[in-house]
């Protein structure tokens, strides 16, 4: 069997129906007969959209790690924490499992996601044929795991909600949290705009 594209069949990205496209492209856009979504053989401008989102995510990654994500004001003294200093503090104070969890969700996963998506996009760009099946699995994992990076944002929201004892102690969010949240959202969009079928197309073009 061949790919759907070789048969001029477009798989609807919303409902999955394979629709026959006319041999010569018409001037107007084509829509799915079942759900009316616009039909494309591949996600439109997949690579350039993924690049744009990845570059934006790399840029936001810098303030996300340098600026404080939260500030604990205790007895009038403010103590700002970045993502890394927060994890280090937990490690030193004997909460190793929680520190490890936050390390994975806030540091390892976003970084891995940026690196892996960059690598996958480069592989497509240079028509690399290395283990497409494994790369497809890696893409699925990266796409599915990204949402867990929101963990730190939820922790900050909950701490801010719980600790509002004006005179004694308060916790406030910091600008780093906004940058970090945007990294999570941008990489989620980047993973979504990447079309895994492009990894398989180089096998048919020769």
């Amino acid at each position: 069997m061949t790919s759907a594209r070789a048969e001029h069949l477009a798989r609807c990205h919303a409902c999955g129906l394979a629709t026959q496209l006319p041999a010569c492209p018409p001037g107007h856009s084509l829509h799915c007969p079942r759900c009316d979504s616009e039909l494309h053989l591949r996600k439109p401008h997949s690579l350039s959209r993924t690049w744009a989102l990845l570059i934006a995510a790399y840029l936001m990654y810098i303030p996300a790690n340098l600026l404080p994500v939260s500030t604990i004001v205790y007895m009038g003294n403010g103590e700002p924490d970045t993502i890394i200093s927060g994890v280090m503090y937990l490690f030193k104070n004997g909460d190793a499992p929680v520190a490890l969890l936050l390390f994975i969700a806030s540091i390892a996963v976003p970084f891995m996601k940026l690196v892996v998506l960059t690598w996958l996009t480069l592989c497509v760009k240079f028509k690399v044929r290395w283990r497409p099946r494994d790369r497809t699995v890696i893409y699925r994992v990266v796409e599915g795991i990204g949402r867990w990076s929101m963990l730190d944002i939820f922790v900050i929201a909950l701490l801010v909600a719980m600790v509002q004892l004006q005179a004694l102690a308060t916790i406030h969010a910091g600008p780093g949290a906004v940058a970090f949240c945007s990294v999570v959202v941008l990489t989620m969009f980047a993973a979504e705009s990447f079309d895994p079928r492009l990894m398989w197309d180089s096998f048919e073009e020769s």
Binding site: M1, G16, P132, R147, M150, L158, M162, A173, C181, W200
Partner: protein, 203 residues
């Protein structure tokens, strides 16, 4: 036996898949991704879990979630207190994202599943069914209740060093909500809705 021609979502390989028996699933021969699956009583089971989820969602949002005791003072937090506090602190972006992923997306998802399964059980094909089915597919990744729950556990451990933290009714309801909404999503099968919209009887 009916044979469908399905293009793989991940590698575009065209494959012939015969009509699946309930409980069966088909996997792509080239890349291993799921091509299709067939559930039993999709509409009825989705409806049951989604309606339980809706009740639990309401309980989780209107009753106190956590209590925090320090130096004789008690602080009560609701599920949405963090959103309000972030907003009040001038972090509107964070407030919007937390509200969207922990409250808005989950409730639209649950309500959507309820509406879709009801329409199928009543043998109706209203025009909004197509739009809603498409919306639900896109919204799924943004409903992050299970990540939020992990955040609750982490923040309780963090605060536990400072003071006494106790969980209220809403936290229990929230855990049950995650279980029932996960079950609703597992019972739900968008392909069954599309087949139903094509004129087939609901599976």
């Amino acid at each position: 036996m009916h044979v469908n021609r399905i293009a793989c979502h991940d590698c575009d390989q065209l494959q012939l898949v015969h009509t699946l028996m309930p409980g069966e699933s088909a996997v792509c021969a080239r890349c291993g991704s799921l091509l299709a699956r067939s559930g039993r009583d999709v509409a009825e089971r989705t409806f049951a879990y989604a309606s339980a989820s809706l009740i639990l969602f309401i309980v989780a949002n209107v009753t106190p979630f956590m209590e925090f005791k320090i130096a004789g003072r008690v602080q009560i937090a609701y599920l949405s207190t963090g959103v309000q506090q972030l907003w009040a602190d001038g972090y509107g972006e964070l407030a919007v994202m937390v509200a969207f992923t922990s409250i808005l997306a989950p409730v639209v998802l649950i309500g959507g599943l309820l509406a879709i399964s009801s329409a199928m059980m009543l043998r109706r094909r209203p025009s909004w069914l197509v739009v809603l089915t498409r919306l639900i597919s896109r919204l799924k990744v943004w409903a992050m209740m299970e990540v939020f729950l992990l955040g609750v556990i982490v923040s309780a451990i963090k605060l536990g060093q400072m003071a006494h933290v106790s969980f209220d009714v809403a936290s229990l309801a929230f855990v049950a909500l995650i279980l029932s909404s996960t079950a609703a999503l597992a019972a739900y099968d968008p392909a069954a809705v599309w087949d139903y919209l094509d004129g087939e009887d609901p599976r």
